[in-house]
Subunit: 500 residues, 2 copies
C-alpha cells in the first residue's frame, strides 16, 4: 500500500502504548509553550492561547516563555519546570530546534500528551528535519504522547480545546470524530460542520504523525463512547497492515468515512511536501477501503455531507424514497441521480396519488413520485399533507423535500416586505418535524440557492435561517438534491442495503 | 433514440418554415393576452406584464382581456383584433381551451411568434389535452411560430423579454444561449448566471414544444451571431435524426453543452408528466452526444459552470495548469482532481521554484506546483509575483488561484473591524487582472466558503463582493476547485486537447 519515513516492513501492532486519552482530550490544566512575551505579539503559541480562551476553556492555562511577564492576564512561566501545578496537556509552538527540549520537559513533569504546532521537521525533506523528528519520537516512546509536529492540533468541543486558527468553532459536542494529517482540511471541516449541523466529539490534526496517527487513533475511536461516526482524511499511512486491520475492526463497530488524498502522481508529490508521507495508487486504495467496509468519499464537501447523513439518519438502509418539490425538472434530475446511486423512487399507488393531488394546484402538479407540487409557494400545511400521504406507501422509507425558497424574493418585492417575513420558513420546519414524528420516517430538506449575488444577500440569509430552523428540528439540510442522494447512498452502502 | 407524441419515423428535416426571429426575440410591440382586468389581479399574464415592465422593455405593450379596462397605466384591449398597431410577438396566458382562438387571432393580425405560458395540453396525458395541442400545431403551420405551450417563454436581455417568474433577471447581454423544455431549469440557470457571471444572448423555455423545439432552435443558434456558446437541457426529443444532424452541425461551429435529463426509468416517467415527451437510455445518449461533438454535463450547476468557462476562457485546450493556494491539502486535492480530468500540473523547474519561494513565508510553503503559499493571508502583491513566476513555465497554460478568504474573519475580529475592510479583495482582483494582461494566460479564481452560517453573513457577503470584483476584471470564479477543473476539462474536451 505505502511505506512511511520510518522503518518499513513492521508487523501489525496489536498493542499500543498506554495512553490517558481523558487527560489529553479533556485536560484540567494545559501549558502553552512558546507564547509571545509581548502582549501584542503574534505567533502560533499566542494565537492558540487566545483561541483557547475565546473558546471558553475552563481549566488552568500556563503560558511559557523564557522572558517571563504576563499575557492576557496570565502569568508567563520562564520554563516548564516552574509551572506550579500538574499539567495534563501541552501545546508546543517554539522554533523546531527547541521542540525536543520542550517536549522532554513536559514528559518529566508528567504531561500526558502534547500537540506540536511547529513545522520544520521531516516535511522539509532535510536531514536536520528528519533528525529533529526522530528525537521527538524517542522522547514520545519514553512516556508522553505526541500529536504533530506540523499540525493544527486537537479540537474537542466538550473541553474547549481548539485547532490553531479556530477561536470560533462550535462548543456543541456531537457524534462525529475526524482525524487527518492536514490541518487545513481539519479546520475546513470544523468550520463547515458548524453551519451544516455536524457536531464533533473530537478532531485530531496530526500533521507529520511522528507518534499518534491514523491506525492508533482508529483503534481508540472505535471504542470511544463519545464517537458514533469516524471520519478521516488520509494522505499517506505509515503501516499499511496495522491501518487495514484497525480500519476493518472499527468499521465493524461504527461507520468509518475515509477521504484518501494524494492518489495521483502530482498528488503524491504534493503529499510528500505537505506532511512527509507517501500516497498510493487509486485502484489499490479503492479496493482496500471497500474490503475494510469503509465509506469512501472524494472531497471535503462529500465528507461533510456524509458526516451529516450518518449523524442524523437512523442506522439503516433506505431502499425507496419519495421526492417532493416544486418544478418538474427537479423531479427528473432526482430520478436520474437516484438511479445512479441505486435508490428507488416508487410510483405511488393511485389512491395515494389522488389524495395527494387533491391538495396541490392544478394544472402543473403531479403526485406520482417524484411529487411535483407545481410552484414554490405551496404552503407548509399542504406540504405536510403531501409528506404524510407519501409516507403511507411502505416502500417509501425516507423523504426528500426540495424548497426553492429563493422564489419568495418575488413575493417580497410585490408586497414590499422583507423576504424573511413573507417566507413561512419556521412553519415549514415545524411541519416537517411533525411529519417525521408521526410517520417515523426521516425527511431530508434540500434548499438550493440560485440567487447568491451581492444584491440577494437577503435570500442567502433566509436560506441560512431556514437551515438553522430545520437543524433545530433534527432535519438535515443539503444545498442540492444530488448531494442529499449521494449522502443517503453512503448510508445505504454502509448498512448493506444497496440495490444492485 | 426516442420518439415523441407526434408521428414517429419522420425523416430528417432539412428545411424549416421561414421565421422572423428578429421580430420574435427583439419585438417592437408585444401583446399580452390574458392579463387580469383587475389592477391587483394575479395570474401568468399579469405576472408577465409586470415582469416585462420591470425589465424595462422599451417597445409597445398591448394587454388583452375581454373585460377591457386598464392595468399598470396601459389600456386593456378587449380582443386581439382591437390592437391599434402592428404586433411582433405575443404572450398567451389564457385558459388552455381559449388558447387556439387567441393564437389564431394573433396569426391573422400578422404576429411573428407567440409564447404560450398556459398549461393543460398534452402533458396532461388526456385526449382533450392532446387535441388542444394539435390545434395549436395546425395554426402554427399556417404561419405563426409558437414557443410552448406549458412553458416560461423567452428571455432576451437585449430586448427585455423575460421568463415568467423573472422580473429581476440581468439586462446585460452575453454570448451564451440556452434552450430547454423545462421552465424551472431555465429560470434557475438565468438566476444562477446573474451572480456567476454568465450572460445570455437568448434563452428559450419551450415546454411541450408543439412547434419550435430543440432541433430547429439548434439550427437557428448555430448561425446566430449573438451566440458564441449554445447550451441546452433536454428531457425528450421529437425527431432523433433531425436533432443529431443539427447537433453535429452546430457543434462543428461553436460549443454545444447538453444536459440530458430523464435517463433513468423513474426519470423517464417524470419527464412524461412534465413535458409530454419521452426520455431514452443513458448509454445511447452518452454515445450520441459524444459522436456529435457535444459537451455533456450532468446537472444544472455543471451546466452553469461550463457556460462560464466557455464564455470567459480563450477557445483552446489547456493541457498544463498551475494551482496556487494556501493550505496544502488543497494542493493534494487539486492534483487528484486534475489527474481524473486529464489535466497536468507540471512541477516547476528549480530556478522558478526558488524565485517563487523567495516571496513566500517559510517554513510551510512549497513552490513546486501546486504552489502552497502556506497561509491565507499572503498578500495580493506576493501572489502576483507567484503567478507571474509560474506563468514563465511554458507548460503552464492556465492558472488557478484558490483564496480561503473566510479566514480573514479572524483578522477582522482581532482588529475589531469589518471583514470587508481588512480583506484586500479589490487589490487581489486587480493583481490577477494584471497577471492575465502581462502573461496572456488566463487565471481562474476559486473562492471556497467554509463559513456559511447565520453568524457569518459578513463572510458570505465578502465572497460575493470578491466574485463581483473578479468578474468585473474578466476573471471567472468558481466555488470549489473541483468545479473549476471539471469546467476546464469540458473546454479541453471540446477543443480537442484532452490528454489521454
Amino acid at each position: 500500500m505505502s511505506s512511511g519515513t520510518g522503518k518499513s516492513g513492521s508487523r501489525k501492532r496489536a498493542v499500543y502504548p498506554p495512553t490517558d486519552y481523558e487527560r489529553i482530550f479533556h485536560p484540567q490544566a494545559i501549558a502553552i509553550i512558546g507564547v509571545s512575551a509581548d502582549e501584542n505579539g503574534v505567533g502560533f503559541g499566542t494565537g492558540m492561547l487566545r483561541a483557547i480562551m475565546m473558546m471558553g476553556f475552563e481549566g488552568k492555562i500556563y503560558p511559557v516563555n523564557p522572558k517571563g511577564g504576563t499575557i492576557a492576564g496570565l502569568e508567563i512561566y520562564r520554563q516548564v519546570e516552574d509551572i506550579p501545578g500538574p499539567v495534563d496537556f501541552a501545546v508546543i509552538a517554539v522554533n523546531a530546534r527547541y521542540v525536543p527540549d520542550a517536549l522532554e520537559a513536559c514528559r518529566k513533569i508528567g504531561v500526558a500528551g502534547a500537540e506540536i504546532l511547529s513545522s520544520g521537521f521531516s516535511e522539509l525533506g532535510t536531514k536536520e528535519g528528519r533528525e529533529l523528528e526522530r528525537r521527538i519520537q524517542d522522547i514520545a516512546a519514553r512516556g508522553i504522547r505526541v500529536v504533530g509536529p506540523n499540525c493544527f492540533g486537537i479540537y474537542c468541543p466538550a473541553s474547549g480545546l481548539t485547532l490553531l486558527p479556530g477561536p470560533d468553532l462550535s462548543r456543541e459536542t456531537g457524534p462525529v470524530a475526524f482525524v487527518a494529517q492536514s490541518g487545513g482540511m481539519s479546520i475546513d471541516l470544523a468550520h463547515a460542520g458548524k453551519w451544516l449541523g455536524v457536531r464533533f466529539s473530537k478532531m485530531v490534526s496530526f500533521g507529520n504523525g511522528a507518534d499518534l496517527r491514523e491506525a492508533e487513533l482508529l483503534h481508540y475511536l472505535a471504542d470511544d463512547p463519545e464517537t458514533r461516526v469516524i471520519s478521516m482524511y488520509i494522505e499517506g499511512i505509515k503501516d499499511g497492515d496495522a491501518f487495514f486491520s484497525e480500519l476493518k475492526a472499527a468499521a465493524a463497530k461504527k461507520p468509518v468515512i475515509v477521504y484518501k488524498g494524494g492518489l495521483s502522481a502530482a498528488g503524491a508529490r504534493s503529499v510528500a511536501s505537505h506532511t512527509a508521507s507517501m500516497g498510493g495508487s487509486r485502484v489499490i486504495w479503492h479496493s482496500v477501503l471497500r474490503q475494510a467496509g469503509a465509506v469512501q468519499v472524494n472531497d471535503t464537501e462529500e465528507m461533510a455531507q456524509a458526516n451529516l447523513a450518518f449523524a442524523t439518519l437512523p442506522p439503516k438502509a433506505f431502499r425507496g424514497i419519495s421526492i417532493v418539490g416544486g418544478g418538474g425538472a427537479i423531479g427528473v434530475t432526482a430520478c436520474d441521480t437516484a438511479e445512479t446511486y441505486g435508490i428507488e423512487i416508487p410510483a405511488l399507488p393511485p389512491e395515494l396519488q389522488e389524495r395527494i393531488g387533491s391538495v396541490l394546484p392544478k394544472p402543473g402538479s403531479s403526485a406520482i413520485n417524484p411529487i411535483d407540487v407545481a410552484n414554490p409557494f405551496v404552503g407548509p400545511e399542504a406540504l405536510k399533507e403531501v409528506l404524510l400521504g407519501a409516507a403511507e406507501d411502505e416502500r417509501v422509507e425516507l423523504q426528500i423535500l426540495v424548497s426553492l425558497l429563493f422564489h419568495y424574493k418575488g413575493l417580497a418585492r410585490a408586497f414590499g416586505r422583507p423576504v424573511t417575513e413573507v417566507t413561512p420558513y419556521r412553519e415549514l420546519a415545524q411541519c416537517v418535524r411533525d411529519v417525521v414524528a408521526k410517520t417515523g420516517k426521516p425527511v431530508i430538506a434540500v434548499l438550493p440557492n440560485m440567487t447568491r449575488g451581492v444584491d440577494s444577500m437577503d435570500v442567502t440569509e433566509l436560506i441560512a435561517l431556514t437551515r438553522r430552523e430545520y437543524l433545530s428540528c433534527g432535519i438535515p439540510v443539503f444545498d442540492e438534491l444530488h448531494d442529499a442522494i449521494r449522502a443517503i447512498s453512503h448510508v445505504n452502502n454502509y448498512y448493506g442495503g444497496r440495490i444492485k
